[in-house]
């Protein structure tokens, strides 16, 4: 076992952040969600996900999943990539939890494998759980793929999130990229001088040294950054990106979200 894992992770972080997040490829498209006011987008995301989490009816959750797919199409996201991002991890993580429960929950027998009994109750539960997780993940992915970082941070600022937190969030986002690069450079330098393979404990210790070195660099950077900011007129507060304006599309979308949430709640309470 070599230090390969550290290197792989640093490279993955770099590739993922540049590709998926920094390039904001889909966020620049001219689709429905991209046009919405970022504040509305955050509120709708929270409302929709919270509704899906509290629902118990498979049909209603299914409808919410279809709605997410429709929104993806309207936002001009490539359907295959969108579904792939949602479903790639679900069988691995959720499947591990959901499948055994098919055989564990008491109820009427659906089928038997050898002597192990699967119940309808178990199947119903596993479907409900998997579909719910997939739906909430879909909304999160929709949001991620159609949002631009700067706008989101400004939206958070307009929700009265403390200034200090906004500053820290912005800096974090910027510096993850730089630190990953510094770390990768250090790894390459170390690797070029490494003969033979490292054991697991050794690789952990090596990781510790690199993380320690990164911490020290991060520290120095932090100070330099402050003076750089100061010399450019930083007065301990962030200026928001300018005012957001609610237009007709935003009003229509808020009305739609509210309607969907009310309908879903009314339906599950048996009011419809």
């Amino acid at each position: 076992m070599t230090m390969g894992f550290i290197e792989d992770t640093a490279r993955e972080v770099l590739e993922f952040t540049t590709e998926a997040v920094f390039s904001e490829r889909y966020a620049r498209k001219d689709g429905l969600l991209q046009k919405l006011d970022p504040r509305l987008k955050i509120v709708s995301l929270i409302l929709l996900v919270a509704t899906v989490v509290s629902l118990q009816d498979i049909r209603v959750i299914g409808a919410f999943y279809l709605l997410a797919l429709a929104l993806a199409v309207l936002s001009k996201l490539p359907t295959t990539e969108f579904t792939k991002r949602v479903w790639v991890f679900i069988p691995i993580f959720t499947g591990v939890i959901a499948i055994p429960s098919i055989f564990m929950l008491p109820g009427e027998t659906a089928f038997k494998i050898l002597d192990i009994r699967a119940t309808w109750e178990g199947i119903r539960w596993a479907t409900l759980f998997t579909l719910r997780v997939a739906t909430t993940v879909s909304y999160a992915v929709l949001f991620t793929m159609t949002s631009r970082w700067n706008e989101m941070v400004s939206a958070l600022a307009s929700f009265r999130v403390p200034d200090m937190v906004i500053t820290i969030t912005t800096l974090t986002y910027r510096y993850v990229f730089l630190l990953a690069k510094l770390l990768l450079d250090a790894m390459h330098a170390r690797r070029a001088r490494l003969v033979g393979e490292l054991g697991m404990m050794e690789s952990w210790r090596e990781a510790g040294k690199h993380i320690g070195a990164t911490f020290i660099k991060a520290n120095t950077l932090g100070e330099e950054l402050y003076y750089a900011m100061l010399s450019r007129g930083y007065v301990n507060e962030v200026q928001p990106l300018g005012e957001f304006r609610f237009d007709n599309l935003d009003y229509a979308f808020s009305a739609l979200t509210a309607l969907i949430v009310i309908l879903a709640v009314a339906f599950t309470r048996g009011l419809l």
């Binding site: 894992f5 200090m164 974090t172 986002y173 510096y175 952990w204």
Partner: protein, 221 residues
């Protein structure tokens, strides 16, 4: 250890948002103790813990585990700094990387941003001050106990779901707690201990002055 949306029912999620309100209030008030030139530093340190968390380390059995970096920040700066950092890291992960969840955000911050750094830090303090074990070993023990406690906490949150409402995490405490605790006792825990110990050793050796960072803030220790 990130609990995704759909694993915890609405009551549990709401409960953790309620618990986190006073904790966030206190943590953000702590930020005022920082001198202005330390704010960018905390930003860079948060980026640091973000990066550390993305390190999937090889562990026996072919799987991977990640450490949180909460104990490192807690020891080098302050447990409150770790709470603020993890609040920001988990927010970015939930919103932009699809890691963790939106409804479970508060529960995740509670486990990784409150339980982990505070347990890790006070264990470290107990071992250095009461038992007089050296700092490097104590930091390793702190990181180990911190991550295992946080994982057990996550196990408890998942395990109480069947008693509250059906349709969420299906396993009772007798399954979820051992599953989470054992995984961290034998995999992520030792990795966190070795890495944290190595970080503290390395920082102490090459930049002992950084340990004095605690005294830069106006907080009493």
């Amino acid at each position: 250890m990130h609990i995704p949306d759909g694993y915890l029912g609405p009551y549990t999620c709401a409960f953790f948002y309620l618990i986190m309100i006073p904790i966030w209030y206190r943590a953000f008030r702590w930020l005022k103790n920082l001198r202005p030139n330390q704010v960018p530093l905390l930003g860079v340190l948060t980026a640091f813990s973000f990066l550390v968390m993305m390190y999937n380390m090889p562990v026996p059995g072919g799987t991977t585990a990640h450490i949180v970096g909460g104990t490192i920040i807690a020891i080098l700066v302050s447990p409150w700094a770790a709470t603020v950092s993890l609040t920001v890291v988990l927010l970015i992960q939930a919103l932009f990387f699809g890691d963790g969840g939106i409804t479970t955000y508060a529960a995740n911050v509670f486990n990784m941003g409150v339980v982990l750094p505070f347990v890790g830090y006070y264990t470290y303090r107990f071992f250095t001050q009461k038992i007089r074990v050296n700092e490097i070993v104590s930091s390793g023990i702190g990181a180990y106990i911190g991550i295992v406690t946080a994982a057990t906490m996550a196990g408890i949150e998942l395990g109480i779901q069947p008693y509250i409402q059906p349709g969420y995490c299906p396993y009772t405490l007798s399954v979820s707690v051992p599953a989470m605790a054992i995984a961290h006792l034998i995999t992520a825990g030792p990795a966190a201990a070795v890495v944290t110990g190595a970080v503290i050793w390395y920082v102490k050796k090459s930049r002992p002055d950084l340990f004095a960072m605690r005294t830069i803030t106006k907080v009493r220790w």
